[in-house]
Amino acid sequence: MANRVIAWIDQRFPLSAFIKNELTDYPTPRNLSYWWNFGFLAGFMLVLQIVSGVFLAMHYKPDVSLAFDSVQHIMREVNYGWLLRYMHAVGASAFFIVIYIHMARTLYYGSFRAPRELMWWSGQALLLLLMATAFMGYLLPWGQMSYWGAQVITSLFRATPWVGDHLVLWLRGDYVVGDATLNRFFALHYLVPFFIVGMVLIHLVALHHVKSSNPSGINLAAKDNIPFHPYFTAKDFFGLGVFLIVFCGFVFFKPEFFMEPVNNVPANPLQTPAHIEPEWYFLPFYAILRAIPDKLGGVVAMVLSIMIFAAMPYLDRSKLPGGARFRPIYRISFYIFIADVAVLSYVGAHPPGGVLAEVGRVATFLYFAVFLLLPLVSKKEEAWLRARGLPSELEALVAGEDDKAGGRR
């Protein structure tokens, strides 16, 4: 009976073929490390955020006089409302941790390089959508930091030449962040995740066309690919288990770790908190914003600092495969970049001024320098490595790649 139903469907819709080609038999490089688990984890976080968010929306009220209290209603009266809300709030931070690791892996192993530019760019779009969703979601609890964070960030658009004031008014729906802002942020916070789902599908279609990259950085011969199921389903689920242990540790035992105490005070437009700071996942970019003395310049630098990732396929001129693994200079610049982002986060979390302002400026300069020097550095590095003689392992990989290219010609 079941077979007949499936046969009936298969005649009209490629169900079995889809499952076979894209899931069970989908060829995956056998040498993927655990760093390749984070794409799956990001997908899991997206689902978890949408599901917990839909249930939260059933009890939340997007009205300035009710929003804060409705969150407390969820926390106190709704059955397991505290669990829903803590999963969603901790989930936002977990989502960014997973995405940042996913990006760092892509940068380290050079997975953004041809032919995966469209994966990288759809990933860039996903990052922007995720940031927009997180920013709007943070307004909803209507605490002091929600309010003042939104007030500061929306006012950045004032730096837009000519239309700045109109743009800010249009974004907020009012002269200050208020009821109109809260309502539209709620609507958009509910809407944008579904754009994310759509973009994830594009990301996945591109992935299944070009197939996964792998630590060696070259396309492996067919014999080095193994079916996704059961090998990577088993590996992804084990990774998910480890992730969930850490995630639930925070949800149940340190749920407010990522939260700002002052956000437990209801929004008060008449009282500015002593120190306004965005959520941790925006801190590096916030530090870059503040590092530039000019307002418009700061906003441009901040936008560039996020968008510059998209240029990576063109900035990296080296033809050597294997990402940072076989490229000592690229590896050093990768670690400099990671350390620099950490320094910027620290600077962004502290009040401006003094030594930290200088540190922030140097770190901002270094941030862009790592990207902008890459074309030169990667070319010189390749020339140097080839002159020095490639390691035999890499030589074999490059030769294999050349053979295949020759064979195709």
Binding site: D69, Q72, G241, L244, F258
Partner: protein
């Protein structure tokens, strides 16, 4: 907290962790025994509620703290079980007296850096200045009077008694800010135990499946 959060990010990035020293709060252990929280509830209702609200709590919620019906009846002195914990003072009078409305205390234990330790430190932070006026170490210029008379108390036994009362009040407010904490921890242990076993099984099956490749 700030340093810790940035620190987590930095840890992730495999470099040094930065821990920022907290403000000069008293280094005190806030108890979480039922007796302490009950005593704290009495202080809150009889003293804090003179001016403050705890609008997210109802008198009926206090029954979760293990009060007998008789004790609860004495505590709420005629207030209904569904009534929220609100001051009997007229808001306009409070505004005239203090220049502002005293903040709601339901979330106070989560709304300040240091949480319950902040509350304890504030309550025992009152001292007499040379000119006889009273100020507070933690919150200089605070509008709140020294309700527990800490700045007046000279006798060590009396000071210790007030400190205990402040600890209990902080313990109660910690519960009030997070009434599901005990339930959350209890469920959390089960969840983590379940996940640990599940993850172990997932690891073993992953290893067995991948063994086919060799």
């Amino acid at each position: 907290m700030k340093g810790l959060r940035a620190g987590l990010f930095i840890l992730l990035c495999m470099t040094v962790q930065v821990v920022k020293a907290e403000a000069e709060l008293a280094d005190v252990d806030i108890p979480d025994t039922p007796e302490a929280v009950q005593r704290g509830a009495e202080t809150a209702v009889n003293t804090c509620l003179a001016c403050h609200n705890l609008k997210f709590l109802k008198y009926g919620d206090l029954s979760q703290l293990g009060f007998t019906d008789k004790q609860l009846d004495d505590l709420r002195s005629g207030k209904g079980l569904k009534e929220t914990l609100k001051t009997d003072m007229d808001p306009t009078m409070l505004r005239e007296g203090f220049g502002l409305l005293p903040p709601d205390l339901s979330l106070m234990a989560k709304a300040r850096e240091g949480g319950p330790r902040y509350i304890y430190s504030l309550l025992t932070g009152f001292y007499q200045k040379a000119d006889g006026s009273v100020d507070n170490h933690v919150f200089p210029g605070v509008k709140m009077p020294d309700v527990l008379n800490y700045s007046d108390a000279k006798d060590p036994a009396q000071r210790a008694a007030i400190e205990e009362q402040a600890r209990d009040a902080a313990a109660f407010l910690a519960w009030a800010a997070d009434p599901h904490a005990a339930e959350r921890y209890q469920l959390g242990y089960y969840v983590l135990a379940y996940l640990a076993v599940l993850t172990l099984l997932l690891y073993l099956s992953k290893r067995r499946i991948w063994a086919r490749l060799h």
